[in-house]
Symmetry: C2
Subunit: 663 residues, 2 copies
């Protein structure tokens, strides 16, 4: 039996702590397995009762003579139950019990011990704090999720991995009401062992799964999830994430809820894009987007997306189109400069399907939006069948928005595999996610060279050390020299800048530790006197001038790993947070795309007739900087070149900061 088999399709399950009291949560797995048609064997484990809900019960797993594929643990003594699993040779245990990493530092330590012991015993773990697994296509409802009170939830080809057990229920329940079914649904709980990434890998290989949805509060193992997403991409299965923690408040809540860092939202955006994971903004989009994606590949667009729109209601279409516009999506109409094709009431309704077909064939559009008014409510077949017929055999993405309450029409469309949206906002969100979807990026394996000699690999580098490191990676850096008492001699041409040389002083200029624009040796000598304390060495640099300033940064993010950042320099750009992130290392095309997304660089792109800056050189500098991610052992925690002076010909880093991981 493979891991996928014992997880999704166990032949025999042990329910450790199964209750005979139907009102208790711990009675649910047995009830639900029965209710939803489980064909395998069920062994309730209950220390005090001979039977549990009409099945013979066992005091321990050891009493069971047959093999157990999957144990579902609901008792407080998880450790004892795990030992039983080990003795019995159970390959997988799902742990519903909580009190582990979800419960502070003590719980986290308990969890570490549990996982270590499970590894020794050869038992894989789902959870703790997991609500279990629901396999709708395989009829295995091994879960305490109360949503399983539902009768006959529909099955489908979409699978879900969720860090919130209850939100699995939300998706199942709301999908069912819309005619959208699921295959596997897994509540990962604390992810002590089996995590989101490994589950995505399993689902990428699962023949019943064509699309993978993720409900995330955090990312605990970014590398594994990235690998899973790449495997899913290779298998032609889109992966879609809804992730909480967009706001500081959301981050704080996610942290209090999962005991893990939620991660900075923009870093996660960069991460998802890099792995080829689509990200949706709204919860309902996650439920509804499936048919828009199934069987499709990332559009990898490098220009504004174009949607052709047909509607029987101007206001209804406008409610979607207005939001498409805010997402930078354009509309096109064949042979017309009208923004949409408006088939007003009654006048041309017979030809609605023909228009949809025409738009799906129109080479000028990347996708089609069909909006239908009240007929969707009262004449579902009449309203949606022409759309379904037009969609058949045509590859272009099609989304339908129905303005009234039209459950039957939604179900008909779902059944036919046509994407349909209940709200204009989710519809626009889905288009936005789809058009932003990129293939997973190839990881450039450039050679960063050796760590420069004489540069410490612990602590915080001083500026000259940091500049030397940047230079070794290929970043153009300012001519600098360390000058010392008594004469502070140097050979740099004037004008120069003079700085305190210390790894401790990060805001040197605010503390008066920087003197700019020293024009001559005389002036230099005078300034040296004012700056040098106790004969400390000072840093002298050639004064660089250019058209504008940029900031280039790097950090080894605890959640998503190495990131490179580029942004407009200066205090205003800082206030507007005008920076763009990308997983590091980045290649030149990626760096160019980052630079193109920085608003403030408009001043270097010819805005208002200003002279153009050498943004190609900046892109090369960003690429070079991002090679910090390739250094053996990734010793750098955080680095920044600020400012990087951008000239009409070339760029140069004039200030540098490096913080190493080891103190």
């Amino acid at each position: 039996m493979t891991l996928a088999q014992v997880l999704f399709a166990p032949r025999a399950v042990a329910l450790v702590g199964a209750s005979g009291d139907e009102t208790k949560n711990t009675a649910r797995p047995q009830r639900y397995l029965h209710k939803h048609g489980y064909a395998g064997k069920i062994f309730p484990i209950n220390a005090t009762r001979p039977t549990v809900l009409d099945l013979p019960a066992f005091k321990t797993q050891a009493e069971i003579t047959e093999d157990i594929d999957h144990a579902f643990i609901m008792v407080e003594d998880v450790e004892g139950a795990l030992e039983d699993c080990g003795r019995k040779g159970v390959p997988l245990a799902s742990v519903f019990s909580d009190g582990f990493a979800d419960a502070g530092a003590g719980g986290a330590a308990r969890q570490q011990r549990l996982v270590a012991r499970a590894r020794e015993l050869g038992v894989r773990l789902l959870g703790p704090n997991s609500m279990g697994m629901i396999n709708l296509t395989g009829r295995v409802a091994l879960s305490v999720n109360a949503i399983l009170e539902m009768d006959a939830p529909p099955a489908g080809s979409t699978s879900v991995v969720s860090q919130s057990g209850t939100m699995l229920g939300t998706m199942l329940s709301r999908g069912a009401a819309r005619g959208l079914g699921f295959s596997k649904m897994v509540s990962v709980g604390n992810e002590s062992d089996l995590g989101v990434g490994e589950l995505v890998e399993l689902l990428a290989a699962d023949p019943e799964t064509r699309l993978i949805l993720l409900f995330l509060e955090t990312v605990r193992d970014a590398a594994r999830l990235a690998a899973g997403a790449r495997a899913a991409h290779a298998a032609g299965k889109p992966v879609v994430a809804y992730k909480l923690g967009r706001s500081k408040l959301g981050e704080r809540l996610a942290r209090s809820h999962t005991g893990a860092l939620a991660g900075e939202d923009r870093a996660l955006d960069a991460y998802f894009r890099d792995c080829g994971i689509l990200r949706v903004d709204m919860l309902e989009t996650l439920i509804e987007i499936g048919p828009l994606l199934e069987g499709r590949r990332p559009p990898d667009l490098t220009r504004a997306p174009r949607v052709a729109v047909v509607t029987t209601t101007g206001g209804g279409a406008a409610s979607v189109v207005d939001r498409l516009g805010t997402a930078g999506i354009e509309t096109v109409t064949p042979g017309s400069d009208a923004p949409i094709t408006d088939l007003t009431m009654g006048k041309k309704s017979a030809s609605y399907g023909a228009v949809v077909g025409e738009l799906l064939e129109f080479p000028g559009s990347d996708a089609v939006l069909a909006v239908v008014g009240s007929s969707a409510q009262f004449h579902p077949r009449h309203a949606v069948e022409p759309i379904i017929a037009a969609a058949k055999g045509r590859a272009k993405p099609l989304a339908v928005f129905l303005t009234p309450q039209a459950d039957e029409s939604l179900a008909l469309l779902a059944q036919a595999g046509v994407a349909a949206f209940r709200t204009p906002e989710a519809c626009a969100d889905a288009f936005h996610a789809f058009f932003s979807w990129k293939s997973p990026q190839a990881r450039e394996k450039g050679n960063p060279g050796e760590w420069p000699q004489d540069i410490p690999i612990k602590g915080r580098l001083n500026e000259i050390q940091a500049l030397t490191l940047f230079g070794s990676l290929g970043v153009p850096v300012v001519q600098s020299a360390v000058v010392k008492a008594p004469d502070y001699a140097h050979t740099l041409a004037y004008p120069v800048a003079l700085k305190i040389l210390s790894a401790e002083v990060t805001h040197k200029s605010e503390l008066g530790g920087v003197i700019m624009g020293i024009a001559s040796r005389q002036e230099f000598d005078a300034k040296v006197k004012s700056l040098a304390r106790k004969g400390e060495p000072l840093l002298v640099q050639h004064m660089e001038t250019g058209l504008a300033e940029a900031i280039v940064g790097y950090r080894d993010d605890p959640v998503v790993g190495p990131l490179v950042m580029v942004g407009a320099g200066g205090i205003l750009a800082e206030l507007y947070n005008d920076v763009v992130l990308h997983l590091a290392p980045v290649d030149e095309a990626g760096a160019r795309a980052m630079i193109a997304a920085v608003k403030g660089f408009a001043v270097l792109r010819g805005y208002r007739g200003l002279p153009k800056g050498d943004l190609e050189a900046l892109a090369r500098a960003v690429v070079a900087f991002s090679r910090l991610a390739l250094l053996a052992g990734r010793p750098v925690c955080e680095a920044e070149a600020n400012p990087v002076v951008v000239r009409d010909n070339g760029v140069v880093a004039v200030d540098a900061l490096v913080v190493l991981k080891e103190a």
Copy 2:
């Protein structure tokens, strides 16, 4: 009979162009009036049939012997039908027929003639291009809206005015599915006569209406709508708008659809706020927000709003709270620093209602959010009754979000008047709209003084004229002098700036028409030679320096009327569009709030230890500038002081632009 009576509750209606063919749109009003229980008299007007759908038909209205309160015109010859109304003394005609302002310039001219004639005849008009009016509480379904195929749509105390007829249907249909009913629903079409503003006034006075919702594609009469909104506020009836045209694409679509300007979105935001109209971002919020607002007054908060949250599902609560965070809303928990009160599954469910009650009493919160998981689907009464009981008699706003598909729970809450939301996004949107809600602002009636002598009141002012005008309003302006050949004498202290003096040259500095920082008379003489063409006079100004630059602007917007603008100066601020708008005139408190919302002014508020600027003086300058809106006849179309130099003590406008309305 008042206008409200003949519009909402006519005793007798004429259906001009009523068809006997049930499949036609023109047969609908008669069918719908019957179907939905109209108790008044119906007179079909049909030139060729003796009966229409079992009622005797008339060739013209003249043949009818009884009084007609309201004619519903569906024929192409609208003009002929209007003459009939005039002869018959019908006080109000709703015009479904299109081909007026919705159909280009020719149609717009036809509409003008129609309205002029209607005024002569004493007939008020709803439309053209209106789908009619639905009065659910009064059982008058005088509309072609196909949504009326519905059986027994619920009645309520919310009324709707919509520029899209079909979207009225959307609201009715979706509301009904949720147990939310309506009172009056009016499709205003082209608003040739009766417009949104007058309808809001009528609804403000309507005893059956407690809340007014607007679906807008444009604002055609901002002053009238403002008056309506103020009347509604005075009557204690909240007014909520959903307005399209947030994106350029949406604007373009709205314009193509309504034949009117959609208006700049930020200007409309300022306008709605000023009139006390709440604005929602999502369509579903418009339908769902009612119970959160009914009977409530604007919170007029001047600090971050605080919501107390209770939930039975962490993920469900987080999906709302995360979005509250992005809207700047905080969460609070009594006696705890936890972000929310999380009653995990089963552990404390009995006390859910008690917690809701406690949070509603908690003085530290402005509102309460209650999130319920799967029990809302399977045990609706058990899940929502404790909430309903806790809400009873407590004034604090309460919103409920149910994570699963839970139609019965939603209906129970609707019935009890408790606000409930189907999606986390609409729930957060509603809170955001509620907390942003301000009482209508008092219009300061300051005295702007007289238009300065010697300043033309047509065309474009040159800079010295513009500065003089600003100065006359109380804006501190730079010392300036016009200097002329041959000696270009002046008495200003150096350093000075020298500029070409022309009303035509708006981007003087880009064209080399400005020389800054002239330090002495000698330098001045040299520069004069380089700048003066053909002995033209030049403008000399004292060089002003300060801590940062601001931009202050004014425009008489064609949609919302006079607006004052303040923003951070400089090219980056321009790129980031860091400006804030307010209806003009603005008072000092309003100007202070505007300034506080400009991000770039952080550099004047002590950011990174920088010296603080005199933002009070800037606020006074904004107030003075906004008095342009009070000048008799409002001759100014557009004005800008850019930059306004902000010092540590005072501000001064150093460049000025004024465009007058008359060319």
